[in-house]
Amino acid sequence: TAPAATTEEAPAAEAAATDAPAAEAAAPAEKTTEGMKIAYFVSTMANEFHQARAAAAIQYAKDKYGAEVVIMDGKSDDNTMINNVDMLATSDFDAAVLHVWQPDAVAPLVMNAIDSGVAMMTFFSPLADTGIPVFRSDEAGGSFAMGASAAEQWVAANPDKPIVTVQLGWPDHTEVKSGRTDPFVAGIESVVGAGNYTNLGCIDSKGSADATKEAMANILITNPDVNIIYSEAGDLTPGCMAALVDAGRGTMDNGVPTTEIVVSVDCPVSELKAIFDPSSSLKMSLGLPPIQTSEKIIDIIVGVYLGEIAQVSTPAEELFGEVYPVDFYKLQLSEVIAWYNQQFGTSLVEADILG
């Protein structure tokens, strides 16, 4: 899934590469990470995974490198994100980890910032033109696995009812499409085969629980037979579930799907509870490990800063992080809690989840 830089883009990247050492030469000869300042972009802090990721980055950078991490909240807004990138060139930052939704728009700004000596990498969306390192979670693999698992469970319990699936999220977002929507549907297809299921497609729910609720409620009016739902972010899922409950659904018969199976992403604690509640139809969520993710990111950016990792390369260096599909049917609660405590730095016990 890695978008390789095309040959015609290579000269630009090379030009940037030749610029970069010049900027570094101007800086003091030997760099230390002590007191280093890292701008850590987060597309939106309105999401527990990102919050945990941000907290972990601050902690890890301080403990391991003595570096200071400053969070740049993109507030789900392109203008804010781009403004934040634009200010890097004249800022006091030594390095920046980007997480922006408009890679094309920020590419020139990134080059400016590199020219003025800021070490750069990006998370989630590759900045292909620039050739800076990118770190991604392997969401596609996890989504595929969950799609397949959901389809298996549904077919086993309701062989007479063909699968009708819908995805709620961002139909227009490249990485969401390639990392969540498409692999999820592919997972379903891998179980039942092409043509044996209906895909209503990805419905825009504008990134809010309210909009998701409205969208789901309206889908249920016209398509009451929808039965596998992928709610593509933790902050959307409450809206999805509320609409289902409103319609008298959202439940399961002791873990056996009757009305639908809901699959989510991010897996906050509240979802953990629902997933291991046999009477809720929310049964899976794509767990992303915030601490692991952040630690890897910080290591990479420090590497770039110290010149151990190339600032630009063609094609851009792409690194993948693990994901953890939490699945009621595949995992024990104890395993999940262990993973959760390790990744989120919490001290949950089973009683917390089972109530």
Binding site: T44, M45, A46, N47, E48, Q51, A52, A55, D73, K75, L200, G201, I203, D204, S205, K206, S208, A209, D210, A211, K213, E214, A215, A217, N218, I219, L220, I221, T222, N223, P224, D235, P238, G239, M241, A242, A243, V245, D246, A247, G248, P268, V269, S270, F344, G345, T346, S347, L348, G355
Partner: protein, 341 residues
């Protein structure tokens, strides 16, 4: 400034029904026609489930609409309700979340009993209502400007309390109860609360001196003052009422999803205004009714669910709402004009 033609709220001279009753009937007819059209063009639209869903999905806008209707009748706008919905949800969660052991900062709250948390939340909402009251009733600043400000303040408080995100961790089960008690079919207790509030509001509007004073103020604020109405207090009360209703909505919505989400309620202020206008209220005051607002809410519900059914593209919602509001204003004016000729 521009005064749209105004309606009256009583039987007119010639013994015809009042303009208000007339408009309500027309809008009810519109509702039926729209529903029929949607049923023709959209497969599976015509069903009891759809009708019940309309109620189940629009109760919140009805609750907000009550406060907004009263304010509009008195000649004032309230754009802060959406912000208050967001704030109330977050605060009710924050107050309820356990105080000591939190998974993270977002899991740590004040550990208050749920009832106390609700009261405290409503108090904060009242505070926002009081801000509105102070600036609009006392200082007489244009309500659109003040409430745009308090909208930011309320949602801002919500965002700060939720650190820009949502509070869902560690909430006791009780938190998720009141928003989810089923009554029959998809109708939950929240819808029943909305219905009860509507009945109370209808009664207050037409049968009490409080309701009458609201119309007096809307029809002529200075005359109302000179007639012994405590205008500032009354407007203040209306803003606090509106804030309180928004707070209740926010708490119910948070309970429904068992999460205090700081972005909830975005754009609700516009929806509440739209349904009120659809119901025949005029922003110049003195005209409007809760019953009309409820019909307006159902019309908006039909329009937006039909739009989903037909197009599955949410951006149509914006355009549709705008067009429907525009048409409603123009049509109502035209009808009243002709009728009162």
């Amino acid at each position: 400034m521009n005064k749209p033609i105004k309606a009256l709220n009583a039987r007119s001279a010639t013994g015809k029904i009042s303009n208000e009753a007339f408009l309500n009937r027309v809008m009810f007819l519109v509702l039926i026609v729209l529903f029929a059209l949607a049923s023709i063009f959209i497969d599976k639209y015509f069903s009891t489930a759809t009708a019940l869903n309309l109620i189940a999905n629009n109760w919140y806008i009805v609750i907000l609409g009550i406060g907004v209707t009263f304010l509009l009748v008195s000649g004032h706008l309230d754009m802060s309700v959406g912000g208050i919905v967001g704030m109330a949800g977050v605060l009710s969660a924050y107050f309820t979340q356990p105080a000591n052991e939190g998974f993270s900062e977002l899991g740590q709250g004040l550990g208050l009993p749920y009832g106390v948390a609700i009261l405290l939340t409503l108090l904060v909402c009242l505070f926002i209502g009081m801000l509105n009251a102070l600036f609009i009733a006392k200082m007489r600043v244009a309500s659109i400007i003040v409430t745009l400000g308090t909208m930011s303040i309320a949602r801002g408080i919500g965002q700060v309390a939720a650190l820009g995100a949502q509070r869902s961790a560690g909430l006791p089960d009780l938190f998720g109860v009141i928003g989810n008690v089923p009554l029959f079919g998809p109708i939950k207790i929240a819808a029943a609360i909305a219905a009860i509030l509507v009945v109370i509001a209808l009664f207050i509007e037409k049968k009490t001196s409080f309701g009458r004073r609201t119309y007096l103020i809307g029809a002529n604020r200075e005359a109302a003052r000179l007639s012994g109405v405590k205008v500032e207090l009354h407007i203040g009360l209306l803003y606090m009422l509106s804030a309180l209703l928004a707070g209740i909505t926010g708490i119910l919505l948070a309970s429904e999803m068992k999460a205090g989400i700081s972005t909830r309620g975005a754009g609700f202020e516009f929806n509440a205004l739209v349904v009120t206008l659809l119901g025949g209220a005029s922003i110049d005051g003195g005209v409007g009714s809760v019953l009309g607002m409820v019909i307006g809410a159902l019309i908006l519900g039909v329009v937006s669910s039909a739009a989903y059914g037909l197009l599955l593209r949410p951006e149509w919602q914006f355009i549709l709402k705008a067009v429907v509001t525009f048409l409603a204003i123009i049509a109502q004016r035209y009808l009243l004009d002709r009728r009162n000729k």
